[in-house]
Amino acid sequence: MNRIMKVARMQLINKATFIGIPLMILVSAFLFTMTIWWLVRRSGGEGVLYGGGAQAPMWYFLALGIQALTMTFPFSMAMSISRRTFYLGTLALFSVCALVLSVFYYLMGLVETATGGWGLDGRFFALQWIADNSGFIQIMFYFVLMVLLFMIGFFVATIYMRWRQTGMVVFFTVLGLLVLGIIALFTFTSFWGQFWSWALTWTAGSVTLWGGLVAVLVAAGSYFTLRKATA
């Protein structure tokens, strides 16, 4: 247990990676959006303004998942840490970071609503589709999304660490064929209309639930792949 905590502390030695950079991305995305909204309002734009910038740090987590592994895993081997301990420590740290950020998103959403969209009637944090839900679902929604992206990055990186280039080629070829196959199937069976009307019925709650399930599967896949990875 103690060593798991130490892995988390090791990942945090460079605080910029897990805390600084995501915050910087979020702040700059927010400021950019604010500036654009202000310009829109000045030139007489009307109606509610939507900004998708809040998702910007989330994409960083995809990269972070890759980085946390490829950069730090070989070093953790040199620190005589087992793969299991490395995995648990890294995931624990990321989960805590993601949870803190999710709560922060939720709180910012409240502030946004209370200030009338930052006085500009803009929606940056409290996108309606999400903000209409309970606080718990909102927080879980952000959390699951962040963890899912992190796990996808982490999983791809474990495949690389274990099977190197061969693993990458096989993985992306299979993935490409799978996506192509689904697109072809939908196209030939004229399923697209049905698919999109089904997609529109998704709620933040159901996305959270299914996303959580996928995240757990990817996490398990990463674990078993990592167990025999080499530095």
């Binding site: 030695i13 460079n14 070989p74 070093f75 081997m77 620190m79 005589s80």
Partner: protein, 303 residues
């Protein structure tokens, strides 16, 4: 202190695609000694150390550290330190941050020793590791290895890129620290003569196989080069195990694996033959080159 083995392997084998990196390696290493793991590049040194430290796993056979398999075993791993020659560090780590991490994981970490060594190697502690020169990078690994004071410490080609002064510092400090804090040290190297004096026991690996596993003292007189008239040389060496043969006209220079007695030396002198000692490096090189014959027999020279 019990005399149980620190490291024990049984018929360890590992194959990468078509390369047999380790081939039936069986070894026993005692605690608190300095071992040399010698061999050419690609002989299997790093693979062996990786398996011993749980960073890799064998296809066949077993490896035990203090009686336990190291793979995924934190308790056993925490007694080992192995910084590989091509060690990777987290992207933005500075030198002192790598030491900070090492201080967390190695219980016997000696911060003062680390600081002393940073100064001795003139290492820029605030610089990013990826900006370091090859020698400085080696110094980071050496410092972690030394300051960790792990019960079993592996040094993987530790001198790469280090200048002569830095290498001497490493050897001196290692011997000094070892005297005060005995532990099992495995020094992997292909620069054999330079480390020869440090070693108590020598293991030579070639094409994944152990070709020499013997006390350094025993090896030091284990071979001799006989030079002189070709016919007389042949007469002197008889059926001894020949490691190497050079000839120039009527002159021959033959290296044989043999310990000569005083009488034999006297005889060589009478026959007008020159005897010269063979360094550990030459012995290893010659042994490696002649492994194809696959012999490990010891034949005494007949005079």
């Amino acid at each position: 202190m019990t005399r149980s083995t620190a490291i024990a392997t049984r018929e360890l084998s590992k194959t990468y695609k078509d390369v047999r990196a380790l081939d039936n390696v069986t070894l026993d290493l005692e605690p608190n000694r300095i071992y040399g793991l010698l061999g050419r590049n690609g002989a299997g040194k790093t693979t062996l150390m990786s398996i011993l430290t749980g960073q890799n796993y064998p296809d066949q056979g077993t490896a035990h550290i203090f009686g336990r398999a190291p793979f995924e075993n934190d308790l056993t791993l925490s007694r080992i330190c192995f910084i590989r020659e091509s060690q990777k560090y987290p992207e933005d780590f500075k030198v002192h941050q790598a030491f900070k991490a090492a201080a967390m994981f190695f219980e016997n970490w000696d911060e003062q020793l680390a600081l002393d060594l940073v100064e001795a190697f003139a290492l820029p502690a605030k610089r990013r590791i990826k900006k370091l020169s090859r020698g400085q990078l080696s110094a980071v690994g050496v410092i972690i290895g030394m300051a960790s004071r792990a019960e079993i410490t592996f040094f993987d080609e530790p001198y790469l890129g280090l200048d002569a002064v830095a290498r001497q510092i490493f050897y001196d400090r290692l011997v000094e620290d070892f005297a005060e804090y005995p532990r099992t040290i495995v020094l992997s190297s292909h620069l054999i003569d330079e480390v020869a004096n440090l070693l108590e026991h020598v293991i030579v690996i070639d094409k994944g196989r152990i070709v020499v596993d013997s006390d350094a003292e025993e090896l030091r007189g284990a071979a001799v080069t006989v030079t002189g008239d070709a016919k007389k040389v042949q007469e002197f060496i008889g059926a001894a195990d020949v490691l190497h043969r050079d000839s120039l006209g009527a002159l021959a220079s033959v290296t044989i694996k043999a310990k000569l007695s005083g009488d034999q030396r006297e005889q060589a002198k009478l026959m007008g033959l020159d005897l010269s000692p063979v360094s550990l490096q030459q012995l290893v090189v010659r042994s490696a080159l002649s492994t194809n014959e696959g012999t490990d027999k010891r034949t005494e020279a007949r005079a």
